[in-house]
């Protein structure tokens, strides 16, 4: 069985004032269908860049990314565009990820208009169904993003990512901009949706507790390289790499508490 997402030796080099900077330095990983792969590492370690290379939102300098056995790099622009129906992405800043001029209805309908022939009442019905699935009421459909809370915006983002029934959803720090109480709600929603829709997640987070709560597999990134990888329980129980141990020690409550705890991250209030 081939993996749902297979990354081979991805390298992404940025040039800054003539100096080459390896944001991602030869990372390979595979995500099996139905699995959640958690990618941890401090900021600047290349997690987000890797995810963007995986979906070919930015072209990797070298290396291949295969979705369902299909090399995304070999596709033409329009083929790649169509292939995006098979993936979804949820962003860190839930408010900024929504066009401020579009109503919730239009935001959730956008991927459907792009990839399906649903129009009119059928489209509206599908949007309503998606909103219901992420825990939003029908009345929210007519709101603009600034009229919603951060948590509600993230629910819209999730509904949008789900719209085309993708197999893989990339979650780029989906909860780090949210209130602690809302974080748990969103994570529970994501877990529930994973069961219902047999989704696979590539979860990016700097919050170890979030990764532990969500993932089957964990990869630890440092300076563009995947320094450790393995089943979540193993990595958390006996980390092999020094850096992983450092990360675990630095995480608040990690030694005592195995529940999802309130993160000590400063809570960013999105206005």
């Amino acid at each position: 069985m081939t993996a749902l997402l297979q990354l081979d030796n991805i390298v992404k080099t940025f040039r800054k004032q003539g100096k080459a900077f390896h944001a991602v330095d030869g990372v390979s990983l595979a995500i099996e269908s139905g699995q959640t792969f958690g990618l941890v590492g401090e900021s600047g370690s290349g997690k987000s860049t890797l995810a963007r290379c995986a979906l070919r939102l930015i072209p990797p300098t070298s290396g291949t990314s295969q979705l369902d056995g299909q090399d995304l790099g070999a596709l033409s622009r329009s083929q790649l565009r169509r292939a995006r129906a098979g993936t979804g992405m949820v962003f860190q800043n839930p408010v900024a990820a929504l066009n401020p001029r579009m109503r919730v209805q239009a935001l959730v309908a956008e991927p459907l208009i792009t990839h399906t022939r649903l129009r009119g009442p059928a489209l509206q019905a599908r949007v309503g169904e998606l909103l219901d699935r992420v825990g939003l009421a029908a009345e929210h459909a007519q709101r603009l993003p600034h009229q919603l809370s951060g948590g509600q915006c993230q629910r819209v983002g999730i509904a949008r990512a789900l719209a085309t029934n993708p197999k893989l959803i990339v979650l780029d720090e989906p909860t780090s901009a949210l209130d602690v109480s809302v974080q748990a709600q969103i994570l529970n929603l994501l877990r529930e949706l994973r069961e219902q829709h047999e989704l696979s997640y590539l979860l990016i987070s700097h919050d170890l507790e979030v990764v532990r709560y969500m993932s089957d597999y964990v990869g630890v990134m440092r300076q563009g390289q995947l320094v450790e990888e393995g089943p979540t329980a193993d990595v958390f129980a006996k980390p092999r790499h020094d850096y992983t141990r450092e990360l675990l020690d630095a995480s608040p409550g990690s030694r005592h508490n195995h529940q999802l705890v309130a993160s000590a991250e400063p809570v960013t209030i999105q206005l």
Binding site: L55, L57, L80, R81, R82, A83, R84, A85, T87, G88, M89, F91, Q92, N93, A96, A97, L98, N99, P100, R101, M102, E110, P111, T114, H115, G135, A137, R143, H146, Q147, L148, S149, G151, Q152, G157, R160, V170, Q185, N188, L189, R191, E192, L271
Partner: protein, 302 residues
Amino acid sequence: MTITQKKPEPALKAFVPFGEGPLGRLGRVLRTDSLAAVGIGLILLMVVLAVFGQWIAPFPEQGMGQTNISQRNLAPGALHWLGTDQLGRDVLSRIVMGARPALTVSLFVVAIAALIGVPLGAIAGYRGGWLDEVLMRITEVFQSFPPLLLAMVTVAVLGPSMTNAGIALAICWWPWYARLVRAEARSLRDRPFVEAARAMGVPTWKIIGQHILRNCSTPILVQATVDVGSVILAAGSLAFIGLGAQPPSPDWGLMVAEGRGMVLTSWWISTFPGLAIFLATLGFNLLGDALRDYFDPRQVKR
């Protein structure tokens, strides 16, 4: 595991300007900003004159150019409120009748300029790279000429008429829209919602229309409003030097030119059409400022 959806989180009521309806917001702008009210008043007056001019003007035939030699060069008085010109035509009537061509030409010029400049700017700004370089170098070629000079050259080639003056001005004006929209597009293209659209596989032309242009409609609208005033002035300038509207059409710039030889003896022939140009330009500038405040209530006015 279930989602505990407690009370629905209330919409942020703290953003007062968003809480009120569009009419309420208009009312607030008008109440708090008297200049905006003046601007809107001037524009409304001009629109009314442009639409109903032939019923408002006391001597509509003279407004269109019918001469009345026995009555020439009369000072402002009871019958001719703003006097008559050297061919005996009522100056007030000609100013009133001049509103429609002035407004039509400037709307036409701004529409053409925006129609060319906005898409080019959006494509250049969104795509970047060599396409951006090429498009921007082209706009710079156009911008490197003084605008009125370029318009004069164009009219000299095409022949002087109102339409050609409009075409000439549109050629001078579109680069400004291209630059404005390019700057907006460049800052918008890296915003997360644009990346989200790309991740969804939305086609490029739709991203530009739906996500880029829709989010820079306010600066475009403000710029266009101010430009309508500027084009009235520029079209008047072209007419003044004989490259725009031709006699006997009731054009404000042309009227200033016709009266300039007698400005010491019959000052009213030039002064009042000049005043009309000034008020129209002022009105559109004030309206542009008002629109900026209306659409962007968070921007604090100094």
